[in-house]
Structures are given as C-alpha cells and as structure tokens.
C-alpha cells in the first residue's frame, strides 16, 4: 500500500479525536476513513469496512434530501472535492439503529501546498428542531 499524504494522515489524526462524526475521502473520492462517532452512527466499524469507491459509500449510507436519495455526485463530500470549495447542507441519513435522522453537514476540500487537491472531509451534526 502506498503511503497516504501527510495532510490526510493529520486530518485522520484530528478526526480520530473529535466527538462528531467525520468522514474522509481521498482525491479519487474513495472513502479512506471515518471516526468512532461515525461508526456509532452507521452501526459499522471502520476497520471492518472494506475500501469503498464514492458510489459504493453513498449507496451504503443512503443520504437523502426532502425524501429523494442523493446520488454520489450530490453528496457534500463529492461537491467539496469536485469544486475544491467548502459546502454546507442539511441531509437525512439512515443511521445504524435504522432511524432516519436530520443532520447538518459541512464538507471542505483538503488542499496541500502546491495546490494539490488530496481529498475532502465532512463533519456531521444532528439537527435539533427547526
């Protein structure tokens, strides 16, 4: 396995210390990490999850907006990656306890020196009322 860029390593290190669910994708859109709060939300452990391309992880987590499922390119992570810009939105996701939950999602690209786009990271917060 090739070594991940140090910027992704540090993002994963930070994510592993946070109390909110965090997902990290690499430059090709493959899911390379999610943290323990994300594991609890999904009901599956990262270490037991096989490597997934962006279409696979989108299907696995079933994000939707206003009752309509999002395709892979509409997810905040992929928008942040494709546009190399931060992105924020509200989503409904099916969590591991088989409950649909409304969440706020902020995603931003990981851009290293030399303008190298290395991936994107998304953080989730459960929405509490309108």
């Amino acid at each position: 396995m090739a070594q991940q860029p140090v910027e992704l390593i540090l993002v994963r290190h930070l994510a592993s210390r946070l109390a909110v669910p965090v997902f990290v994708i690499d430059a090709s859109g493959d899911l390379v990490y999610f943290n323990e709060p994300a594991e609890q939300a999904l009901g599956r452990r990262f270490e037991e999850t096989p490597p997934m391309g962006h279409d696979e992880w989108t299907a696995a987590f079933l994000p939707s907006r206003s009752g309509r499922p999002l395709d892979a390119e509409q997810t905040p992570l992929m928008i942040a990656l494709r546009q190399a810009m931060p992105y924020h939105t509200s989503l409904d996701v099916l969590t591991g306890d088989d409950v649909w939950r409304s969440v706020e999602v902020t995603a931003f690209p990981i851009i290293a020196p030399g303008d190298r786009l290395l991936g994107a990271v998304a953080m989730f917060w459960e929405a509490h009322g309108a």
Binding site: M1, A2, Q4, V6, I9, L10, R12, P113
Partner: protein, 278 residues
C-alpha cells in the same frame, strides 16, 4: 556512499564538555559519493560552518537540502565560507511555499539579524523548492516528502548506486493513526522504506515525550518503532535534545537498542563518518 555527521544536536547548539562525544552543533550531514567534485549536504545548522572550513577545493557543486527553515537548521548559512568561492555552484533546496525561498531565507540573512545578505555571496547560488519530482543530484536521486512537524518540513531519501539513506531529522510519526502499525498511514514511511541508513529524530526519552506531544519530535523508542516499521537496516538517532549530556544520549540509545526488533540502533556522533555500500 560516505555519510558524515557535522552537526547532530537539535534546537540549539550546545557546545561544552558535557557534549563532546555526540556533539553540540545543530543539524548538518554531508553525503559524498564517487564524484570528488560533488557533495550533498543535509541541512545548514551550525555544523555547516566547520564543514565549510574543511571543504576540499575540488568540490565544484553542492546540493544543500533544507528539511525546513527553523533556525537550528539554517543558522550555519551565514557562516559557510565557500559561499564566497566564485567557482562553486550551490543549489539550496527547501520545502515549497507561496513565499519565494529568497524572501524566506532573507528574514534571517539580512539586517538587523545578520549583516550579510544572500545576494552578497559570490558563489553561483540557486534557490529551488523541493517538489514532488525527484531531484537529480550527480550520482544521487533524491526524493522529498512532507512529514509531520510544525510548519512545513520535508524528509529526504537519497538513493545512490550502492546504498540508500533517509533523512528525517525533525519528525513526529507517533501522531500517525495507530502508530506504529499502519505503514500506509504513517508519516515518512514511503521515503524511509527499506533504507540502509535512517537518520531520524530521537530527541526524547519516552517519559519526556509525554510532555511534548505535538512539538514535532520523537522519543528514541518511537524512532526505533518507526525504523522497524519501514524495515530500515540501521537507525542513527539524531537531533539530540539540548538538555541531554553525553551520558543521557548514551543511556537513551541503550534503551532504544533494547526496544529494536531488527533495526541496528546507534546515536549519530558529530565528526563520525559511516561508509555504506562498496
């Protein structure tokens, strides 16, 4: 390939009777190959001054690779006498930045901090950012990679025809996820993989590291764990803590040696030379 340690100390020069064995000058390592006219220098700490004073006149080209621009790695630039040899070509490589390297180095090499400016040197001076493409340096091929250390820092891999050396003088791989088990997620693993000699940060005792997490340096035992993970044949502990006298460095090295699972462990000694390959 001959590797000579001209400066092994971290953070600040510590000359004195308590550091005569392992050295008091800050980071500077020279790598020479078969070409007597070419030299690779790793970092420009205070050890660079003595290297410059003994540089053979036959050396016509130097590639000077800066791991980063913290003061203990560049302080020797102002005292490198060969900068005033017109027949010498010196290329300084450094981590890439949006700020030109001349401007970054001139923060030190200009009044009021220093009386001489880089533009005043008379050698043929070239300033380059070390990017992702390999550097062709005489008979050596050199790769650079970002590694974990505050501000942008690089590690270097120097490949010769008969040996490979990796240089990561300031590095905290313990911040990598689940260190030291995931090679693909470990900072510096790619450039340090399977080298004959790994020159690596080993500044702290394990109990000291606990109070310095995030400072960008390693305990000697983490340095050994990193060396074992990347299958380095020999580890030279480097960047000795300025608060450690010779006895402390020797004791720290013994503990590191005991923790090794295959890598040969030594402490870098100022003034010593290691010959690798044929």
């Amino acid at each position: 390939m001959r590797v000579t340690f001209w400066g092994t100390r971290g953070s600040i020069a510590t000359p004195g009777p308590e550091t005569v064995v392992f050295g008091g000058d800050t980071s500077c390592v020279a790598i020479a190959g078969r070409d007597p006219g070419h030299l690779v220098i790793l970092d420009a700490g205070t050890g660079l001054r003595r290297l410059g004073n003994t540089l053979p006149e036959g050396i016509g080209r130097i590639d000077l690779l800066l791991s980063h621009l913290h003061l203990d790695h560049i302080l020797g630039l102002g005292f490198f006498a060969p900068f005033f040899r017109e027949d010498l070509s010196v290329t300084i490589w450094a981590p890439p930045s949006r700020t030109p390297l001349l401007d970054r180095l001139s923060r030190y090499l200009s009044p009021p901090l220093f009386p001489v400016r880089l533009r005043d040197v008379s050698s043929q001076l070239h300033l380059r950012d070390a990017g992702p493409e390999p550097i062709s340096s005489g008979e050596f091929t050199i790769s650079a990679a970002s590694i974990i250390h505050p501000d942008t820092a690089l590690g270097y891999r120097i490949e010769g025809s008969d040996a490979v050396v990796a240089y990561l003088p300031d590095h905290e791989p313990a911040l990598s996820p689940r260190f030291p088990t995931l090679r693909g997620w470990t900072s510096g693993a790619a450039i340090a993989s399977d080298v004959d000699l790994l020159i690596h940060d080993g500044q702290y005792r394990p109990e000291e590291y606990a109070d310095h997490v995030g400072w960008g340096h390693s305990s000697a035992t983490d340095s050994v764990a990193f060396a074992d993970l990347v299958a380095a044949r020999t580890l030279a502990l480097f960047h000795h803590d300025p608060g450690h006298d010779d006895a402390a460095v020797a004791e720290l090295t013994r503990r590191a040696r005991a923790a090794s699972h295959g890598t040969r462990v030594m402490a870098a000694k100022q003034g010593s030379t290691i010959t690798l390959g044929h």
